[in-house]
Subunit: 349 residues, 2 copies
Amino acid sequence: MNSPVRPFPPLDHTHGLVEMVHGAGGRAMTQLVREIFVTAFDTPALRRGDDTARVPIPPGRLVLTTDSYVITPRIFPGGDIGSMAVHGTVNDVAMSGAQPLYLSAGFILEEGLPLSELAWIAGTMARAAHEAGVAIVTGDTKVVERGGCDGLFITTTGVGVLTDDRVDIAGDRARPGDAILISGTLGDHGIAVMSQRENLSFDTPILSDSAALNGLVERMVAAVPDIHVLRDPTRGGLAATLNELADQSGVGMVVRETALPVRPEVRGACELLGLDPLSVANEGKLIAIVPAEHTDTLLAVMRDHPRGHHAALIGEVIADPDHIVQLETALGGRRIIDWLAGDPLPRIC
Amino acid sequence: MNSPVRPFPPLDHTHGLVEMVHGAGGRAMTQLVREIFVTAFDTPALRRGDDTARVPIPPGRLVLTTDSYVITPRIFPGGDIGSMAVHGTVNDVAMSGAQPLYLSAGFILEEGLPLSELAWIAGTMARAAHEAGVAIVTGDTKVVERGGCDGLFITTTGVGVLTDDRVDIAGDRARPGDAILISGTLGDHGIAVMSQRENLSFDTPILSDSAALNGLVERMVAAVPDIHVLRDPTRGGLAATLNELADQSGVGMVVRETALPVRPEVRGACELLGLDPLSVANEGKLIAIVPAEHTDTLLAVMRDHPRGHHAALIGEVIADPDHIVQLETALGGRRIIDWLAGDPLPRIC
């Protein structure tokens, strides 16, 4: 018999780098998972060390959603890939009206990524999850050789439960006559990331709006259970989201340009960069489509919440066999808001 | 008013390539998702076109697991990254004794990936899910520019439910005196992938054992609800898995070399490549740790199932404050089975 196996020395969180062995399923991987992820996320299911989490779930309909995050740069004004991977997936669960409960997180790491950056990102994920009231209960780590991926990709999956049988919020439920509301200003996330990427600086710094919206949605659904549609206008911005919803529901839409909330500094940056704020990504905003009679109630609830101070009625759903989204311009004309053919801001989420 | 927006022409599934616009959140992305993923997976939740799936769930404990797949080559003898992304995650859910029900799938695609390959992989995922009795109900697609990732990464998350309150299967439940069983031969997956990677050919072709084990587990748990541990020995092989379990449970283990089922052709390939079959990955095998009195019952059930024909009793759990896993060699000696310090087979799953 040889002598007992010696434990590894602790990870060097200051100067250490991710190595291939950290994804090999052996002792080094277990150490990385324990010292970085279990320490940050600190949930009983993770501490137990199994590949799966077993967690209680209240009765109701299960809501499941997943999103991969490949944003570059990974750290930007107002957030980073970690906080976003939590906010984005929490929000997708919330957009069904469900209460988000649990997250899983799959990490694909490039050999050579600084452990200090990984620990930082795990920390922001943990804080974002705590603030949103969700637990990160299981995960996975893979390492690819240098050049095999761009630093760090995160895929989060969110699980929630819909306990109120009356709630039926879905993209195919917009009806002619419904009001279209937005929870706040457009384009903040995309412009914050773009300014970091292009090394632009503005007199007023533009921060990403990345935030969890489940608290806001909970209030909205409690006040108006008959909300027809909720959707967060992320990739492709308001333009892509409204077109997708018009297509899903088989309706047209009219949006009033003068009603759209856009920060002056974002509008200025968009002009500088040749971007349309309608097509720029948001990460902490939602669109609500509701029977028109609920407009005032819902706007009041939204404006009373920190994530909905700038909520506004921006337009209405109309009957249209061509499912076109129209913009009523400041001058009273109308133009089509098309889905973008190209991609002005790749790797935005 | 302009004329209505023209629909895109259909994707060119033969010669088309993934483009950045397929990840941009607009019309091209919707088209890719519909023509490739919704067509292949064909579940009502996906067809509805929302970012989230709402699905029924029976009462019980929820089981959640996630895994990212970065294997290279993406297509190998006996499977591909798609079938594996289903099998691996279904198996992780099953290793808790739960019934796997739903999967989500997040795709990170490299610009330039042939659409024909993506459609092929979506097809094998769909077939694997169908065979395992699970539904792929939601997903996400991101595209990174050429060089931003290595072709295609898939992250699947599995959801299952544990309906039998008696079942408590976890990695920290191995007890001294328990029997250690394996469901079949060791090393087939790793050697199949390695032979493809290194362009080796053998007289008897070696196929990956990639397969869903939930059917086998269902029978095992029905026969012996008091199974203590189930675990699939994937990355790092049997050696890493037993060490992880010894560590989690605070026990030692003794495994008999002569009892380990290894195909002669796999043993030969391992000798040729300088690999230890104990450290080579499996994708369709499980380890079961059970009170010794259930050994015969469980072996009979396992051998009666197509995924357990070569099931064998390979060793036992012992008390050991150092949590060492020992191999009793063919000659009667003992050596430590250590976790690998290095990584003989990177990107194996």
